[in-house]
């Protein structure tokens, strides 16, 4: 089970803040993104954005980062704090 969370503009575009994925075939962040993008056109559009950032267990990671059951994977737009 992977816990997927979304923030800021991304959360609003998807109208979703959190979902659980149970699919042992998803080995990397890239796999998960492809899986989510296949939900529908809106998700496809959002995940086509190359500026999208990913964090696994609170650390920023790249698309080839491995994921496993129990991980929290976050997707969000470039940060704008400070």
């Amino acid at each position: 089970m992977i816990n997927v969370v979304f923030f800021a503009a991304l959360r609003e575009q998807l109208d979703c803040s959190e979902l659980l994925i149970n699919d042992d075939n998803l080995k990397t962040v890239a796999d998960l993104k492809t899986h989510l993008a296949n939900k529908n056109d809106q998700w496809q559009h959002v995940f086509a954005n190359s500026a999208l950032l990913t964090a696994v267990n609170h650390d920023m990671v790249n698309n080839d980062h491995s994921i496993k059951s129990g991980d929290e994977v976050a997707f969000f737009p470039p940060v704008t704090g400070g």
């Binding site: 800021a8 609170h58 704090g81």
Partner: protein, 150 residues
Amino acid sequence: MTQEISIQTADFSLADEVTLLEKDNAIDGAVVTFTGRVRNNNEGKEVTSLTLEHYPGMTEKSLAKIITEAKERWCIGRVKVIHRVGELFLGDQIVFVGVTSKHRQDAFAANEFIMDYLKVQAPFWKKEASKEGVNWLEAKTSDENKAAKW
């Protein structure tokens, strides 16, 4: 020693924070502070308020990493980072970074480094309300460049 990082909705007092940084700290002669506030103007739009969202847990972790890196790069004493979240209005304080050091250039460099990295690595997002409506701010390439220079 107080916590180095605070994410809070409440306002903060610059004077109180500096007092804490200097308390029982006779070895550091230099204190550099940065305070960021809500401006009335951003790229030509009249801003009325900002709403700040963050990613609890990751925020603290990313700021702790940035502080650790600053301590590895410069000879600094105490550090405090405060970032407010929630709805903020014109003139409100958003962020505070305070750094003490023996020699001033360490506190200047570490403070600017922390702000530059906070801007591109800490998971905060600003939604801006202006007369033209409400919209999420776009990240700036210039901020990426500032962080890359260190």
